[in-house]
């Protein structure tokens, strides 16, 4: 475990915590961007360059901007009077803590049974491209169809309703 991992993990987790704890929605998205960037750096640390740069392009470049647009199109950064956490926040916190306890227990118990490769995998973008249009061509086409359908669906759902008598 090298120190870079600890720094990146702390960076990512701090960003994620800030994203769900801050009151102002725009600040939340900024913290979320920090978490996404930390994850992209963790991917790079794991020698997954392609996934790391895809993470930067898709999440920081598209999803974060999309969320900012959604926030500004709805309530903006004004603070709600009732507070930012729901009435049943304690139940949610207990459920999340329970899930983390189970996941952490499973990781600590099960990780010894997994054989671990420590050699750096030699995978180039060329190999990834070949795999995408070779063995994984059907999932690739399905994802293309899904993205088209999702884009059209999102536009139709968010489109202005026609003015007229109700």
């Amino acid at each position: 475990m090298n120190p870079v991992f600890y720094i990146l993990a702390a960076f990512t987790l701090a960003g994620a915590l800030a994203a769900i704890l801050l009151k102002n929605l725009v600040h939340c998205v900024l913290a979320l961007t920090v978490a996404f960037a930390g994850l992209a750096l963790l991917f790079l640390e794991l020698d997954a360059q392609f996934a790391g740069f895809a993470q930067i392009l898709v999440y920081i470049g598209a999803v974060a901007i999309l969320i900012v647009f959604a926030i500004l199109l709805t309530e903006g950064s004004e603070l709600p009077k009732e507070g930012v956490f729901s009435n049943t926040w304690f139940v949610g916190l207990v459920i999340a803590a329970g899930v983390f306890a189970v996941l952490g227990w499973a990781v600590l118990q099960g990780v010894r049974a997994v054989p671990q490769q420590t050699a750096v995998p030699v995978v180039t973008v060329h190999d990834i491209g070949n795999a995408l249009v070779g063995r994984y061509v059907l999932p690739l086409e399905i994802v293309a169809l899904l993205l088209t359908a999702a884009t059209i669906g999102a536009v139709i759902v968010a489109m202005h309703e026609k003015e007229g008598p109700r």
Binding site: V63, F69, A96, V114, A154
Partner: protein
């Protein structure tokens, strides 16, 4: 590369624990926040935690050259982008209709 085998100090366990913590943070956000957009943010964090698991297993698994975990993560990123677009479209449509994004006030479909 060498690593200690005391405690949880294998690299894989470290990444898996970070992913588990990230998942729990995302779940807590999705379950406790009032604003629908912040619930979507929590869901995105959970999806990202799953991606981190996939990449970590790919990196430390027996056959990284088969690219299975990497491909799974890339497709998962694409599906998460589609999910974000549709989810935020729905939030905007609901905001037009109900004039709020507060989930505690969206209680018109009580069974």
């Amino acid at each position: 590369m060498t690593y200690m085998t005391t405690g949880f100090a294998t690299p894989l366990a470290g990444y898996l624990l970070v992913a588990a913590l990230l998942f729990a943070i995302g779940l807590a956000g999705a379950l406790t926040r009032r604003n629908a957009i912040l619930v979507l943010v929590g869901i995105e964090l959970m999806l990202n935690a799953a991606n981190l698991n996939l990449i970590a297993f790919w990196r430390y698994g027996p056959h990284p050259e088969a690219l299975t975990g990497m491909m799974f993560a890339i497709f998962s990123i694409a599906v998460a982008a589609a999910e974000a677009a549709v989810g935020l479209g729905l939030v905007i449509a609901i905001y037009r209709h109900a004039n709020t994004t507060d989930l505690d006030k969206m209680n018109r479909m009580k069974g």
